[in-house]
């Protein structure tokens, strides 16, 4: 679990590297143009990914006593 923080790279890949593929208006998702939906999606996924890391992060175990 020492390397769990490497998961933090995923939002960068999703939000930035995949952006050229998401640069389109259609299809609309939840009423949003696709590009805006894509960015919103990754904001939510960033939160989810950090929650997972937090659960397994050994740094949070210390000093809990």
């Amino acid at each position: 679990m020492k390397y769990i923080k490497l998961l933090l790279i995923i939002p960068f890949i999703g939000m930035i590297l995949c952006l050229p593929l998401a640069n389109r208006i259609e299809p609309y998702v939840f009423g949003l143009p696709f590009l805006l939906f894509w960015i919103v999606l990754w904001m939510i996924l960033s939160s989810v990914i950090m929650t997972i890391i937090y659960k397994f992060d050994p740094d949070n175990k210390e000093g809990e006593a």
Binding site: L19, N23, I25, L32, L35, M43, S47, M50
Partner: protein
């Protein structure tokens, strides 16, 4: 005096009262003034960091950018979100080192981590230079909001001045505590206002969010995707990366991170803040609605789109509440920025000039500096004329040049020394200023480059130069560092990484 102006003034007085009252019963020393004795819980830290997101830039610039530049505006939530992702890893390290060494400002962090008072001085100056345009933006935005929301009953310059006086009073009395308490009021207001406006306007004019975007698609489809040149994908990506790196290097965000009472509070905030940033969507909805409803605002007038559309839609008392929320989104961030800029100068420069100064003297100097910085910012807010977002980008281009020094301060091996860090920063900052002043792009020097390269932001190019120079100079001067350290310190110098490792074992 009209209804909306009365409401705005009531909130201004409430903010002043909360700000002054926040330190009742506390003995204010430098540590308390600057970072609340590193004792703020998750909630206050959350609100203060979120304060950076919900500034006047959100209020005016977010909707303004959507109005003028369409989807390019999405760079804002994108970089803020990635800044939080990065902060999950980065900020607890900074906090741990600062706690151990009793550091209360960014310049002290760099001075301590690289054992170089010169680097501390450079960080202090750079921090101030980056923050003054930011404070100016807040004051200028405040002037615009209050003037518009009062239906012109009060001029922008007068409104900016009154705002500057309020913020100066409570910051001088309460320091960061004043910011924390006014932040509570501010976030309640901005949440209510932005969600209400962001939902009401699309439904009122278009019957929903998707119909709003479909209306934009049929009249101005280019606003809904990122352009192929200019504010293109490569501009977007480089700006997002640069700002994500720079976010916590802004002295105000750095300071707020130091107010936390634990590392866990910082990590928990990193998790929740991207969701909070989703509120920016509502500002975008308003900007896009304004494209259809109030076309014809030119250039920096786009920043007025939210207020103009609101005024067209609502009664004066609602406009008063909107104006009050706008006022608070300027006051709170400005107060944090003022505190951190003045503490940075005091700890980074004044303490170097007068190493034996007492806590009381330092506090006095910080307060004098606050007045000084407010006056400069106010002058530029009233007399300057640039659009809000452009200055915001220049701030980031400058402050992010501290990134190599910050990132390498955690390295297990001292890859970067003080000479390298300083050389990199100086070259990069000079480059940013040169490009800005002469209005140059890469194509100015290499006319044939494709727009993919030409659109990369100046700050990002400077940052790449910075990294290369910092490493090369460090390698070249490592011998020099070894010699002086051998003379001065018989024991080897500890890097931040060493110390972090030690702290962990404790």
């Amino acid at each position: 005096m009209n209804t909306s102006l009365i409401i705005i003034f009531a909130f201004a007085i409430l903010a002043l009262y909360l700000g002054i009252r926040s330190t009742r019963g506390k003995d204010i020393n430098m540590d308390e003034f600057a970072v609340g004795n590193k004792g703020f819980g998750t909630m206050f830290v959350f609100l203060l960091i979120a304060g950076e997101v919900y500034t006047t830039f959100t209020f005016l610039g977010g909707s303004g950018w959507a109005y003028t530049n369409g989807s390019a505006a999405f760079y804002v939530p994108a970089y803020i979100c990635l800044a939080y992702v990065l902060s999950y890893w980065l900020i607890p390290k900074v906090w741990r080192y600062s706690k151990k060494h009793n550091i209360i400002s960014q310049p002290s962090y760099f001075a301590s981590a690289f054992k170089s008072t010169s680097l501390g001085v450079i960080a202090a100056i750079l921090g101030t230079v980056a923050l003054v345009p930011y404070i100016m933006i807040q004051l200028k935005g405040l002037g615009i909001i209050v003037s518009e929301a009062s239906y012109g009953a009060i001029s922008p310059a007068l409104a900016s001045t009154i705002g500057a006086i309020i913020v100066t009073i409570y910051v001088i009395i309460s320091g960061i505590h004043g910011s924390a308490w006014t932040a509570v009021l501010k976030d309640i207001m901005i949440l209510l206002v932005i969600i209400f406006l962001g939902l009401y306007i699309p439904y009122h004019y278009f019957g929903g969010v998707q119909p709003l975007f479909e209306a934009v698609q049929s009249s101005a489809p280019e606003k809904l995707t990122i352009a192929s040149s200019g504010l293109s994908i490569s501009w977007f990506v480089s700006t997002v990366l640069l700002n994500a790196l720079g976010f916590y290097l802004l002295p105000n965000s750095f300071t707020v991170a130091l107010t936390a009472s634990s590392e866990k509070a910082l990590r928990k905030n990193a998790i929740t803040l991207p969701l909070y940033t989703l509120l920016l969507l509502f500002a975008f909805f308003i900007g896009f609605a304004a494209i259809i409803q109030i076309p014809g605002l030119q250039g920096s007038e786009g920043d007025l789109s939210l207020l103009r559309l609101s005024i067209q839609t609502f009664d004066p008392w609602i406009i008063g509440v909107v104006g009050a929320a706008g006022l608070l989104t300027a006051l709170v961030p400005a107060s944090v920025m003022l505190t951190s800029a003045s503490i940075g100068l005091t700890t980074g420069v004044y303490k170097v000039v007068k190493p034996n100064s007492t806590d009381r003297q330092q506090l006095l100097v910080s307060k004098i500096l606050i007045i000084f910085i407010v006056m400069i910012s106010l002058y530029f807010a009233i007399n300057g004329s640039d659009a809000l977002a452009l200055l915001n980008i220049l701030s980031y281009a400058l402050i992010t040049q501290l990134a190599p020094a910050l990132l390498f301060s955690f390295a297990k091996k001292p890859l970067l020394n003080k000479y390298g860090a300083i050389a990199g920063i100086i070259v990069a900052v000079t480059f940013v200023f040169y490009m800005q002043i002469t209005g140059s792009k890469i194509a100015t020097f290499f006319p044939n480059v494709p727009s993919v390269i030409n659109d990369i932001s100046t700050g990002m190019i400077a940052l790449i130069m910075n990294f290369i120079i910092a490493i090369v100079v460090s390698i070249a001067t490592n011998g020099l560092i070894k010699e002086t350290e051998d003379e001065q310190l018989p024991t080897t110098g500890h890097s931040v990484a060493d110390e972090l490792a030690v702290t962990k074992e404790d």
